[in-house]
Symmetry: C2
Subunit: 349 residues, 2 copies
Amino acid sequence: MSISIKEIAEIVGVSRGTVDRALNNRPGISAEVKAKVLKVAKDHGYRFNRAGRMLSIRKAPPKIGIQMPSIGNDFFLDVLAGIDKAVDELADFGVTVSIKQMKGFDPAKQVSQIRQLIDEGINGLAFVPIDDPMTSKLMDELSEKGVPVIVLNSDISEGQRLCYIGTDYTLSGRTAAGFFRVLAKGRAMQTLVVTGSHLVLGHNQRTDGFVQVAQEHPEQIHILEVVENLDDEQISYDLTKEALKQFPQLNAIYLAAGGVAGTCKAVEESGRDESIEIVCNDVTPAVIDYLKSGTITATIGQQPFAQGYQAVQMLFNFLLDGNRPDDQWLTRSEIVIAENAGQADSENR
Amino acid sequence: MSISIKEIAEIVGVSRGTVDRALNNRPGISAEVKAKVLKVAKDHGYRFNRAGRMLSIRKAPPKIGIQMPSIGNDFFLDVLAGIDKAVDELADFGVTVSIKQMKGFDPAKQVSQIRQLIDEGINGLAFVPIDDPMTSKLMDELSEKGVPVIVLNSDISEGQRLCYIGTDYTLSGRTAAGFFRVLAKGRAMQTLVVTGSHLVLGHNQRTDGFVQVAQEHPEQIHILEVVENLDDEQISYDLTKEALKQFPQLNAIYLAAGGVAGTCKAVEESGRDESIEIVCNDVTPAVIDYLKSGTITATIGQQPFAQGYQAVQMLFNFLLDGNRPDDQWLTRSEIVIAENAGQADSENR
DNA sequence: CTGAAAGCGCTTACAG
DNA sequence: CTGAAAGCGCTTACAG
């Protein structure tokens, strides 16, 4: 309940329009008047009122763009659900959202979809970036135009952005290893680490986090080998099969990225699924099935719903108040087993 | 972007005040006019606009009351933090909150604190109820006055309420047992279950959930005994010590409620902490220390921050729009080990 | 450079 | 029972 623009105007003895110009750095105001207004505002602890602003922006409501490599990828279903919820909540304020989805990771396609969004006149963008110079350059271009950009689910090595919203990849790798540490009890977990690609930052961070904890607990976790499946089920199957042959002592597999079904198939076929603990990431319908059947022991969740929800809310807030959020908004790394799988992420944004 | 009151007024050919009377069931409107207005509103899919309502209620902003047995109980720190965040977000809409805290579980004290809040003129109440007829009666009284009541963290067997916000106790017990199931591998977990009190619904639900899963997996989990520590550290210590003597095969303890430090002390003194896995509930500073030291293997979290945040938000929403929420809003049962402890719950409401 | 007015969608006294 | 007006806090053309 701070002071209002109207009250400031009365105190300074100017019109509300003038106060507005001073407070929001609009042109057409003398330096002296501006200084006087700002002083009074500061002295009285002025904070703009969201309800007032929300109502008045309805005449030119913000438009938000989303771009994601989500086609054919179940992980993004919850992200989309989170986006939907935020859109629903913000509909009252006139906010609209335009979503472009693509299949796979083609930077040219990504750039062209974002250009489409720009043509639609978006005031803010959230997207799952492919770490490519083309994308980074486009981000810089948007930032210069004053369009805030949020990177979602994956961070990017270059390019101006407002915030990264997503999992703490290192922590999720550490958590997976911690789970093996707890499981070890007496024996050592002889572990195969299956990562996606050495070219993907998040995959490397997960592997690094896993390796860190393994080194802290050498009695509990021994890494046999780190292999790269390029997120491909067939490659994942082949590599796992090979490792099973090569390492008869193998009793644990950590999947840092995709290719879960391929690895599970190889393990099931080997008949060693009883003695091998598999830990992977994300709580997709397929993973839930593997948890229930016992092939996968645990998975590390990353709150996809919250990621989608927060991206939209954060863009809206920034467009409303112009305050930069923290550089990162990290979701929790949650250990999920058969018993606590299937809890609605959606309830908690 | 639905139709507005102004537009409905124009279509029907009445004033905006009349439309308001019809839409909000206010007195002083003829049945025919009301019917006409409601028909047009329905045909055009009218939904009231939050920004408009939020701005106009500033003249008589809602006041929310909170009552909790939180003094001297670290668990509630995060609940309070969640309340604070919601209050901060709603300050723009003029919402104020009055919080009464007490130590322990005295129903008379609870009732008297709630009466104080009523005297302060609250429009909604969220509290952690003691399951006592005095409390239930007061809840009914409030509901009749039109003051919505949310029960927080514990449900209550009787009494009118808008919603229960809190953990799914049964699920948290199931999750704890599921964790033991996973840990078992080859051996059986010979488990001591330490509950709080048979008089507390939530404690019973946790124990029941644990027992369910134990029965589903008799090879993995064997319950040696269920004891009751009345949330008292000394009793917890004594009972644990006794059980350790009685059951040399004991290798797992599930703590369904409080008394964690007492049990941990007994286990540490016995020198058997290496061979005994302890799982408890909640992520308090003390529990985090035990996780790091290895005495406690895992704890089941319940999103206390989200509980506090949601209670305030839900009351505000109900006061704004009058729509009853779902009967329950359940938070997630999260498995937390040393590696993923200490993640800010606060980031995710 | 500055002010006066109108408007965003809603509610609330006040007249009649 | 109904309407006209004012107001919540802000922004946006439009005059001057």
